[in-house]
Amino acid sequence: MSLTESIARLRGPRLPRADGLIPWIVPAAIVLIWQVACATGFVPARVLPAPSDVALAGWKLLLSGELARNIWVSFWRASAGLLVGGGIGFAFGLANGLSQLSSKLTDTTLQMVRNIPHLALIPLVILWFGIDESAKLFLVALGVFFPIYLNTLHGIRTVDPQLIEMGRIYGMSDRELFRRVIFPGALPSIFVGLRFALGIMWLTLIVAEAIAASSGLGYMAMQAREFMQIDVVVLSILIYALLGKLADSASRALERLTLSWHPAFQKH
């Protein structure tokens, strides 16, 4: 071991913790300035309640069990929609990436449907499904379908043809070729699709819950608006931000785990 390596190793454990804190400096500063602005009366409480009031509102809702229930309902809708829509998108992406016939048959249709903003279907969806769970599920699934479909398709089509030729020369069967060459090659692109999908998933859910729901975070925010509980409205928005960040972190962790071979994810 060289001297520089040993120094790097000695310093190693301390750096990640400091690195992990840096991204939180800006949000913490914003909360602090916000609190000061409210406390000094610079921002009236009617316009924006202080972070401490929002926290208090959150605490009350937590004690009543309402917050946990609404978060759980929204989380369930989001993940079920992602699973269904993402699963179908992934399946179509695979089929159209691997088979010329399937691509010719369905790609044009899918591209046409893609250009309809899926939120424009809300009136139709309410007429079809009412305001029960299937309406939200349908909208989220439709929203996440396209980014996952497009990126899976793109990933499979851009796998290095030289690697595929190599696989064939070394006698890989179609299944093995898919498992060892095509799928790992498409994975980085599929993850890009997943992260786009996560953003669309929350967006769709908020809108759907605000318009047609009787539970969930979006519903909680709309109810609070009716009763002029601005602290609860702000609380819901903050929870969306946290959940979005959580979903993104989860997908990043999954990325790091499965793409450890990728130069972008290697520690130097």
């Binding site: 190599m166 696989g167 006698g171 090659g185 071979w261 130069p263 290697q266």
Partner: protein, 278 residues
């Protein structure tokens, strides 16, 4: 021509190497009825891409274990010939045969790009070369042996992304060698490497060829590489074999020696003359 080798002091490593190579080859020949390599016979081979006739009747016999280099200008059809030999393209007319039944594992190709799977560790990349045997019990032991052969045992659990260009190409060589092939086709395998790495790779190729006695087909645009490595050089022009030169210079061949330079010069003249007279 053999006399010319004796001036100049060959370095100690080269002397050790030739004894090793000669010994290994002699052992091979003594132990089995024929050497490990397969003979290659090509008759009236033709290949066109659209209206462009790339190969216009190639006839060639390569004895088992011979090291043949194929040189020629870009677009002369040398890579196509190699791809036909390796079975990577369909044949329009004529035959390519290896003197009997062959398994896919008997014939291996090494390309200019290493073509390693970036998402598989070095050792798994080598295991790919085992073909149908890659699921067998001894697979990783055989892969490790091949890595030792190319001097990369300590890199076996690395990702390909951290290797240098020369190291990647050595992994690709290990992958090609692991199934113990009887014909190895090289498509400009050293074309993308720097000059020094290329020389050490040439030595490595010569060594493994000496030890394993496969039939080697090397396509290259580098005439000095062909002269250094091959028993025989084919010059391809306009889709035909224009010259068939036997390289009668003893190994180890010293880079820059007078007889190598003379041979290289004469082959280059062949190539340049055809370029000047359209």
């Amino acid at each position: 021509m053999q006399e010319a080798l004796h001036f100049g002091l060959p370095d100690a490593e080269a002397v050790g190497r030739v004894d090793y190579i000669e010994q290994a080859r002699r052992l091979r020949r003594a132990s089995s009825a024929s050497s490990h390599g397969l003979p290659l016979t090509i008759r009236a081979l033709r290949k066109s891409f659209g209206d462009n006739e790339v190969l216009r009747g190639i006839d060639l016999h390569v004895p088992a274990g011979q090291f043949v280099a194929i040189v020629g200008r870009s677009g002369c059809g040398k890579s196509t010939l190699l791809r036909l030999i390796a079975g990577l393209e369909s044949i329009d007319a004529g035959t390519v045969s290896f003197g009997g039944e062959t398994q896919p594992e008997d014939i291996r190709v090494m390309f200019q790009e290493p073509r390693l799977l970036p998402w598989a560790r070095v050792i798994s990349n080598v295991e790919v070369g085992l073909g149908r045997d890659r699921a067998s019990v001894g697979a990783s032991a055989r892969a490790e042996k091949a890595l030792i052969e190319v001097g990369l045992r300590d890199k076996r659990v690395e990702w390909p992304a951290v290797l240098s260009g020369g190291q990647k190409q050595r992994v690709a060589l290990a992958r090609a060698l692991v199934s113990d092939p009887r014909v190895l086709a090289f498509d400009e395998p050293l074309g993308a490497l720097d000059a020094l790495t290329r020389i050490s790779m040439q030595r490595l190729l010569e060594r493994v060829w000496g030890e394993q006695a496969f039939t080697a087909i090397l396509v290259t645009h580098d005439v000095s590489e062909a002269v250094t490595l091959a028993d025989r050089i084919l010059v391809i022009e306009d889709g035909r074999i224009a010259h068939d030169v036997t390289v009668d210079i003893r190994r180890p061949r010293e880079r820059g020696s007078a007889d190598l330079a003379a041979l290289e010069g004469s082959i280059l003249r062949h190539l340049l003359n055809t370029a000047d007279s359209p």
